[in-house]
Amino acid sequence: MLGEGILKGLAETAKNFAGSFVSAERMTTVQYPEERIAPVEAARVFPFLVYDGADWEAGMRCVACQICEKECPPKCIYIEKSKDKKPDALGKPQFYPAKFDIDVSVCMSCQICVEVCPFEAIKMDNEFELATDDRFGGLLQDRKQLAKSNEYYHTIHPTEAAEVDARLAAEKTKAAADAAAKAARPPAQAATPAPAQKPAGGGE
């Protein structure tokens, strides 16, 4: 009959209306600044730069290869390569970013910079309260603001960080073994396995 559906709908909304006063589990609202839900582990908002050790400048994993800058779809990353080189975690001399800025207002949280980084240097943070009252300077985060320790990475994404650490450790032992092998073997024989090593290293 005409109007039947309307009455059914009205009954449904009336149930919701009355129910919201008596049962607390109906209400899904979280009173945000006072109450917070713990973020899920896979949450990602904005990138940060990982460093090892205590000194952020020395331990920075980033080698300023600028792949992320090129891959970034909205072009929100600005990198300036350093003129000199500095030893990295493996002790190899590498370039480092003299300037590394990410614009919060442009970033779209796509995580492509993380996907393309060969050095596990840039990761996604779950910090989402990035609003400031400074429209220009405040929204442009420089490398000091972006640098966060590996321990911090472990606290926000434990599973992922453990995998990354295992990978880096494997790489390190491999590099050490290679170096040891290189040192032990005569230089003439070392020329043959070296090309085989290269694709494996490039694939990382």
Binding site: G9, L10, F17
Partner: protein, 391 residues
């Protein structure tokens, strides 16, 4: 004691006016009454906006605004300050004068409607002989302001919203008038105070409200449908459907002019609910004879707020109609039912007392409702919605 409580606003007015010299008293009386209406209903509007938002929230299992003041009750103050301090933007190509006048015409005409509503015993600003006619004459003028707003903005969404609004308001105006005419036929008067008095009787402790008769119930349902469409409330909010037309005819209004449109819409809702209360729900008369000691204005405003609640409830429940559904519903269902209701009201009037007229009148109306509804649902597919994408 009860008498004083009932007439407290009237006495207050007389006391206030009595303070002035004799020559000024007639003018002062009018000014005081008008000032009371102009102050009270916008205050009610402010409260209603909070209650609407909270009520809609509850319907959707949310809390609604709760930050400004205790329980969010100061939200309208914040909204008011915001709209007052916002920049008043008039589009460059807009028709300045008409653009400026449109919200004024709306608010002024809507306010005039309150003049004839009896809000309590002896509480009516202008007890006109043709009060109902006055109300509808004033109500018809609001369409013009909607058109003015839509046309002067020089915006396609505004213009489309205005066209929809005017088409909708004209269509449902007919139903609104015809459903009210049944009341006039029975009570034999166009004066709203007389209509209320005709309903202010009790038998077995129950009131003689017109809604408790077959024709009255049918008329009330038709009236409620027509008022929802007249005030552009959901599910008939096509003129300002935000998913289609940005905001309809007030797209190009900002700041306080927009607030005036908002105010005008809510005031129209109050006044039309007040009229419905007066026509069908016995106006200020008490629902049971043993409750007649409660002040009459209390009953009027309780009934008014109940109607507002139903408006909010409907808004929280029903999805928006399509334009063709809206028009078909108005002309093929509501209008025939209203015409039939006139016939039934005539029958009721001339069949005299007794149970026979109850049976016959109810049977006619129910049969027509079921038959028309069935026919409409079969032919116009009102029942199940069919979606056609771009053809």
């Amino acid at each position: 004691m009860f008498e004083t409580a009932d007439q407290i606003f009237v006495l207050l007015k007389h006391w206030l006016v009595g303070l002035l010299p004799m020559a000024l008293q007639p003018v002062a009386g009018v000014v005081v009454s008008v000032a009371a209406i102009v102050c009270f209903f916008p205050a009610l509007f402010a409260l209603t906006t909070v209650f609407e938002r909270k009520g809609l929230g509850r319907i959707q299992n949310r809390i609604g605004p709760n930050r400004t003041g205790p329980f969010g009750i100061l939200q309208p103050v914040a909204d008011g300050i915001k709209s007052l301090t916002k920049e008043d933007i008039v589009p460059l190509s807009a028709d300045g004068a008409v653009h400026f006048l449109a919200p004024l015409v709306l608010v002024v005409t809507v306010f005039m409607g309150f003049a004839v509503l009896p809000m309590g015993r002896n509480m009516v600003l202008a007890d006109m002989d043709a009060g109902l006619l006055f109300y509808f004459a004033i109500g018809a003028s609001t369409e013009l302001s909607v058109f003015m707003a839509g046309w002067s903005s020089r915006n396609k969404y505004s213009l489309m919203g205005a066209m929809r609004a005017v088409a909708q308001m004209i269509s449902y105006e007919v139903a609104l008038l015809l459903s009210s005419v049944a009341v006039v036929m029975i009570s034999g008067s166009l004066s709203l105070t007389k209509i209320v008095e005709a309903q202010n009787h009790y038998s077995y402790g129950l009131p003689h409200w017109y809604i408790f008769t077959p024709w009255g119930l049918a008329g009330f349902v038709m009236y409620a449908i027509a008022t929802t469409a007249e005030t552009n409330r959901s599910p008939f909010d096509l003129p300002e459907g935000e998913s289609e037309l940005v905001a309809g005819y007030h797209t190009e209004y900002s700041g306080f002019k927009f607030a005036l449109f908002f105010l005008g819409e809510y005031l129209a809702m109050f006044s039309i609910s007040g009229l419905g209360t007066t026509l069908f729900l016995g106006g200020w008369s008490a629902p049971f004879s043993f409750l007649t000691w409660v002040p009459s204005w209390f009953w009027f405003f309780s009934k008014l707020m109940m109607s507002i609640f139903v408006f909010i409830w409907l808004r929280g429940t029903l999805p928006r109609l399509r334009q063709d559904q809206l028009m078909n519903f108005a002309w093929k269902f509501v209008l025939p039912m209203c015409l039939l209701n006139l016939l039934v009201a005539g029958l009721w009037r001339f069949m005299g007392d007794g149970w026979l007229r109850w049976v016959i009148c109810s049977a006619i109306l129910v049969a027509a409702y079921v038959g028309l509804g069935w026919e409409e649902m079969r032919r116009m597919h009102i029942g199940a919605r069919s979606y056609r994408y771009a053809e």
